[in-house]
């Protein structure tokens, strides 16, 4: 009986020592990995009718996470690249980054944006118009500056893009005529 008591006290002692040496492993409360919040945004694509082309919005859902602006543009590029016709964005263009500072969004695009553009001034107007209109829905973005591989893009062949472009500019409407 005395022997048993000694063993018990010894075991208790070891348990206490172990308790103080090793901190208990606390399993953190399982916070679910941030379920990607999806937000409805508008992306603008070309719609043609009766010698007229216009940029019309489509509602889509994108990640509201890290950079909703870049996500919206990426989604626009995916949308138009998946179709053969009515593609205002040069094929294969990727959004490399988008920085917003004091209302100016600097949009960094992959070189395909410049290298794969082939079109007349109306096509170029639609390319730039689709980008601007898509970004104009975000109140924090006032102006847009385009970059290709981190360097300012000045033109695609017709339009002067060498200054920040006002997203509120509303001249975009091609076509009509008498």
């Amino acid at each position: 009986m005395k022997k048993l008591l000694t063993i018990l006290i010894f075991a208790l002692g070891i348990a206490i020592v172990i308790h103080f040496i090793h901190k208990p492993v606390v399993t953190p409360p399982t916070t679910p990995t941030p379920t990607t919040h999806r937000q409805a945004v508008k992306i603008y694509t070309v719609v043609a009718k009766a010698n007229k082309e216009e940029l019309k919005p489509i509602q889509v859902y994108v990640d509201s996470g890290k950079n909703i602006y870049a996500n919206a543009l990426s989604r626009l590029f995916e949308e138009v690249n998946s179709k053969d016709a009515a593609n205002p964005i040069p094929r294969g263009t990727k959004v490399l980054g988008l920085e917003l500072k004091d209302g100016l969004a600097s949009v960094n695009l992959s070189k395909e944006f410049r290298d794969n553009f082939q079109g007349g001034s109306d096509a170029e107007a639609m390319t730039i118009g689709a980008l601007l209109k898509t970004l104009a829905q975000f109140p924090k973005i006032k102006h847009v500056r385009l970059l290709v591989d981190g360097k300012p893009l000045e033109t695609l062949g017709h339009l002067d893009l060498s200054e920040p472009l006002d997203v509120k500019w509303t001249g975009q409407e091609n076509g009509g005529g008498n």
Partner: protein
């Protein structure tokens, strides 16, 4: 044979009538003398006597030329000693006409180094200074003119980048200036004329990047530009700061139009006034028959108001119409005209400025035109449904245009001579095109393109662009566009400001506007539209496009319909 004799008789009769007309002008006709577009003020009017223009001697003073009247004994003719600005003094006879001391302007003008031109119809003598000498000593550019006149530096980013100093000397003709370059082995000076030959453009090519500044007084016979060398520029492109936010647009209520008036400034400029109880958000359009239509919403005209008679060479008719709540003011032009409308709060009126557009007047054969076939080389432009490139169509049309303009006697340059790009950087490629026009002192820049749209076949027709609010380029674009559409029959997709398709405009047009050069860009048709491309590839169609452009240019320069 008898017929020939009769014709010869008629010819001699006509000839003698003409000679008599010249030899016997109406005695002592009044003459207006112009310098710098303004009438020279004189104590008494100048006179035309026996084909010579006489003016009171004070005429010299108003031009900034010194003189002294020599003392003479009774009965002798008075002698005037005139000291030209850069030449030796000379003596000239003084005539007493209508009890005034007058000098014979037409006789002394060459001695003073003045260029003169006589307009018989309006009895006007126009005087121009001549550029006599241009000297660059490495630090200063000196331009010596026969009369004090104004000058301005044409300041554009790319002129700076290309190390060019461009100086426009007003109210001057090139003469035959001596050009001297000192202390610099690689600087070069070229001259040309601008406007209606009333501006001398001096282009100084500098060996390196420099800063320059006009240091002479605003009006001077020795124009001085100080040139300081700059360190090589940074290659980094800074991102420009945000443009300021536009103020909120005011709201407008109903207004009533009260009266009409106009004021002719001179034969090139008039102002029409529409007096109203307040401002309004008006819209404008120009019809192909050269009617400027101003729609003023929520405006009421007095029932009796129909318009007014305007006696001016730019205006055929001015009328007003009421249609429901809308008041319409319609100005029918006699020729392509530059217009600008503004609200004058102080006088509570709309002011419509009408001007003879820049480069208009004279003959097409006296003009210098730079034709810009869009794209080239590695820049293919749009691709047609046939797989052919826009750059080639542009060049074919441009070549036809060049031939037509040259046969009309105009001075023509092309921005590219074949299938080539002007620079590996597309931005610089576009800048170089306008740059050429400035160097050549061109009157007009005509860029030729073909369009494409994202949806193949969705669109068809001709569109013509001008830069933003450039009223001269707008008049040019309208004139050319209407003639092209008339000859080709392609759908008319209108004349539009470039800012309707892009926030800050099209590169070549914006750069031209900065340089004050009337410029337009025509998109002949859509090469990804089957019917349009079939036309654009056809040499006969291309010729009609070129003819339309020539007609439009001729109408802009010389007036009238063609």
């Amino acid at each position: 044979m008898r017929c020939v004799i009769r014709l010869t008789t008629i010819f001699f009769l006509l000839l003698s009538a003409t000679l008599l007309g010249v030899a016997a002008p109406s005695p002592n006709r009044g003459v207006v003398i112009l310098f710098g577009g303004k009438q020279i003020r004189l104590p008494s009017p100048a006179r035309l006597i026996d084909g010579n223009v006489y003016a009171p001697i004070e005429f010299l003073k108003t031009l900034g030329i010194k003189y002294s009247l020599g003392k003479t004994s009774e009965g002798e003719d008075k002698q005037l000693t005139i000291s030209p600005l850069h030449e030796k003094a000379f003596k000239s006879a003084v005539s007493s006409i209508e009890n005034r001391d007058m000098i014979c302007v037409t006789e002394i003008a060459p001695k003073l180094g003045l260029a003169t031109s006589w307009n018989e119809g309006s009895s006007t003598l126009t005087i121009h200074a001549e550029v006599e000498k241009i000297r660059f000593d490495g630090a200063e550019l000196h331009v010596y003119t026969s009369l004090p006149t104004t000058a301005q530096i044409l300041s554009t980013d790319w002129a700076k980048k290309a190390n060019k100093l461009i100086l426009d000397v007003a109210n001057a003709q090139p003469g035959n200036p001596r050009i001297i370059v000192e202390n610099s082995t690689s600087a070069a000076i070229n001259t040309g004329t601008q406007g209606n030959g009333e501006i001398v453009r001096i282009v100084l090519d500098l060996p390196a990047s420099a800063e320059y500044k006009l240091t002479s007084p605003p009006k001077s016979a020795e124009i001085v530009v100080a040139v300081t060398k700059l360190p090589p520029p940074h290659t980094e492109h800074p991102i420009a700061a945000n443009p300021p936010v536009a103020p909120p647009t005011p709201t407008f209520g109903p207004i009533s139009i009260t009266s009409l008036d106009y004021k002719n400034e001179n034969s090139h400029h008039t102002q029409i006034y529409i007096y109203a109880s307040g401002p309004a958000k008006y819209t404008t359009s120009v019809s192909p028959n050269m009617e400027l239509i101003i729609d003023i919403p929520q405006a009421t005209l007095p029932g009796s108001m129909l318009g007014m008679g305007i006696k001016h060479s730019l205006v055929r008719e001015f009328r007003v119409e009421q249609s429901d709540g809308l008041a319409k003011a319609i100005v029918h032009f006699t020729r392509p005209t530059a217009y600008n409308i503004k609200w004058d709060e102080e006088s509570s009126r709309f002011v419509i400025d009408l001007d003879l557009p820049k480069g208009a007047g004279g003959l097409l054969s006296q003009k210098t035109i730079v034709i810009d076939p869009g794209h080239g080389g590695t820049y293919t432009g749009a691709t047609g449904l046939s797989g052919k490139f826009e750059k080639d169509y542009n060049f074919q049309i441009a070549t036809q245009l060049k031939e037509l303009l040259e046969s009309a006697g105009a001075n023509v340059f092309m921005t590219r001579r074949g299938d080539e790009s002007l620079d590996p950087d597309v931005k610089i490629d576009l800048e170089k095109r306008v740059h050429l026009a400035i160097e050549k002192s061109a009157d007009f820049f005509i860029s030729i393109h073909c369009n494409s749209c994202p949806v193949p076949g969705a669109r068809s027709g001709t569109e013509t662009y001008y830069h933003d609010k450039d009223i001269n380029s707008q008049a040019l674009a309208r004139s050319v566009h209407s003639h092209v559409v008339k000859l080709t029959g392609l759908p008319d997709c209108n004349v539009r400001p470039d800012v309707s398709i892009s926030p800050i405009g099209l590169s070549v047009l914006r750069n031209s506007a900065t340089a004050g050069l009337p410029a337009m860009l025509i998109e002949v048709g859509f090469i990804n539209c089957k019917t349009d491309e079939a036309c654009i590839g056809n040499p006969d169609f291309q010729k009609r496009v070129a003819e339309g452009i020539v007609h439009g240019l001729k109408s802009y320069v010389e007036g009238g319909d063609k």
